[in-house]
């Protein structure tokens, strides 16, 4: 047992003013009058979870069950309101393909921009540059501005930059709707390679049959809590019955 992710009693609590204050002035006045009431909302409560090295864990649940929030906590985007997160190794980014791209810059310039946003150094990017361009199948367009790209090309470039480096913890968040059939298969192959090479994988999906086939263990999230955790087939069955 070699844990790479340990979550202890994680709570993520959003605290929103009950009335929406559009302006600073309004907010300041109401705050001074102590009239601001806050509505609290637990996006996650009491999450205890341990994921071991090399494991493929499925995360299922409806929209709004807290799946994305959980991923944000693990990828360090969100510091939980309560509880303790411990992570060992690099977590692959939540794939929001093309986040941070600039339309006026060329594909090449965007590789450097996006790569450094993901925390890589210039040198690391330079050494994998050929590979990134080749995987995205953009060799002949790499010096054109991004605004001339089709949405599929942008997605391919985004995917290529963010998956070139093998992460210790791989997050698959229903991403495989990228580009055409052939590129999708390429993505799947790359993900499978990382998985087989020992990356711990978190698979997040609505599609419970994928979880059944790929994962040994699964977590079912509902209303920000863990409803069930255990062998994938059992958890998936419980989830299906509740539908």
């Amino acid at each position: 047992m070699n844990p790479v992710i340990i979550l202890d009693n994680i709570c993520v609590r959003y605290r929103a003013p009950e009335a929406k204050f559009g302006t600073f002035k309004e907010y300041a006045i109401q705050l001074l009058k102590r009239k601001v009431k806050f509505k609290e909302f637990n996006a996650l409560s009491n999450i205890n979870l341990q994921v071991n090295e090399g494991e493929i864990l499925g995360i299922i649940g409806r929209n709004g069950a807290g799946k994305s929030t959980l991923l944000k906590v693990i990828s360090r985007v969100l510091v939980p309101t309560e509880g303790r997160v411990r992570i060992r190794g690099r977590v692959s980014p939540l794939l929001e393909l093309g986040a941070g791209f600039h339309p006026e810059l060329t594909g090449l310039e965007n590789i450097f921009l996006n790569g450094t946003l993901l925390g890589h150094t210039r040198r690391e990017i330079e050494s994998r540059l050929a590979e990134i361009i080749e995987f995205a199948e953009l060799s002949s367009f790499i010096d054109s501005p991004l605004r001339t790209y089709s949405s599929g090309m942008v997605a391919r470039l985004g995917f290529s930059v963010s998956t070139t480096w093998q992460p210790e913890i791989l997050i698959l968040d229903e991403i495989l709707s990228v580009g055409d059939e052939a590129f999708r298969n390429k993505c799947k192959v790359r993900m499978a390679t990382y998985r087989d090479a020992g990356s711990t994988t978190l698979l997040v999906t609505h599609d419970s049959s994928t979880v059944e086939t790929l994962c040994a263990r699964a977590v079912w999230l509902d209303h920000g809590e863990i409803k069930a955790i255990g062998p994938a087939s059992e958890v998936v069955n419980m989830y299906r019955q509740s539908q």
Binding site: R15, E104, T116
Partner: protein
């Protein structure tokens, strides 16, 4: 629920309960992400001019154009046409740097905020890179400034080698203010609208277009001595316009104000940074 073993023997790369103080953590992150800062500055400069014919020349033409307009309007009021352009331009460049970088810092942080809800980046990179872009622009606009000094036959002395010092303090001050405003603007987007009015008023009470001597003695204390930008503009302008070093008084006050502002801005911002991702 069984008690989770403590795993104290394993070294984790991230432990939400064993973090350094936010200000220190942010500083270390900034150093680690220096290549990103370079890329953001590059993006700002390259993207801005990519579709214009004159490109980067605009950075130099813009202050020149404003200077010509203001010289035509004001030179007969405030000193002769000989002195006025250099006086105006030396103050205007420093002011433009401050106004542009603080505004950019707000906008970048709001843009970066959207990004930060998806990937983990140190949040200060957006303010730091805005100021970095401003420094590049300022250095470029020194070219038209020295051109004007030559044309209007102002003497250029060794004092210009002092300029990196006021530039450093201006940078620190702009970054400090930028960070404070950004952390507010993430929660209240209309800060950015409000700031446009403030910066306009602030410019008029700072002696940039007019000589400080026209401010009545009785007001000077309030208008000049409580205005941080007075010291910083003065520190930047004196070596250029008067060809001598600024007074020690001005240097010390300017240094203290800007370093204190930066420290407060940095600490405040980094303590708020964890909360930004919660603000949808």
């Amino acid at each position: 629920m069984t008690e989770t073993p403590s795993f104290n023997n394993i070294s984790f790369t991230y432990d939400s309960q064993q973090r350094k103080s936010p200000a220190v953590e942010e500083l270390l992150d900034i150093i680690r992400y220096r290549d990103l800062i370079y890329q953001l500055i590059r993006r700002d400069i390259v993207a801005r001019y990519k579709r214009s014919v004159l490109g980067i020349l605009w950075t130099m033409l813009q202050p020149l154009g404003i200077m010509i307009v203001l010289t035509i309007v004001f030179s007969s009021l405030f000193g002769g046409a000989r002195e006025y352009p250099a006086y105006l331009l030396s103050g205007l460049i420093a002011w433009t740097f401050f106004a542009q970088t603080t505004t950019a810092s707000i906008h970048q942080s709001v843009w970066g905020g959207a990004l930060m809800r998806r990937i983990n980046v140190p949040y200060t990179v957006f303010s730091v890179s805005s100021v970095g872009t401003g420094v590049v622009n300022l250095i470029l606009s020194l070219v038209p400034l020295f051109l004007i000094l030559l044309i209007t036959k102002r003497p250029i002395t060794w004092a210009v080698f002092f300029l990196p010092i006021p530039l450093l303090f201006l940078t620190a001050f702009a970054l400090g203010i930028g960070l404070m405003l950004s952390s507010l603007a993430v929660r209240f987007p209309d800060i950015s609208e409000m700031y446009q009015i403030i910066i306009q008023a602030w410019m008029y009470i700072t002696p940039i277009m007019y000589p400080e001597t026209i401010i009545p003695e009785s007001y000077r204390r309030w208008v000049l001595h409580l205005n941080p930008m007075y010291y910083l503009i003065n520190m930047f302008r004196t070596p250029i316009f008067e060809g001598r070093l600024p007074s020690l008084n001005i240097i010390i006050i300017g240094a203290v104000i800007s370093l204190v502002t930066l420290t407060i801005g940095w600490i405040y911002f980094s303590h708020q940074a964890d909360k930004f991702a919660y603000i949808a």
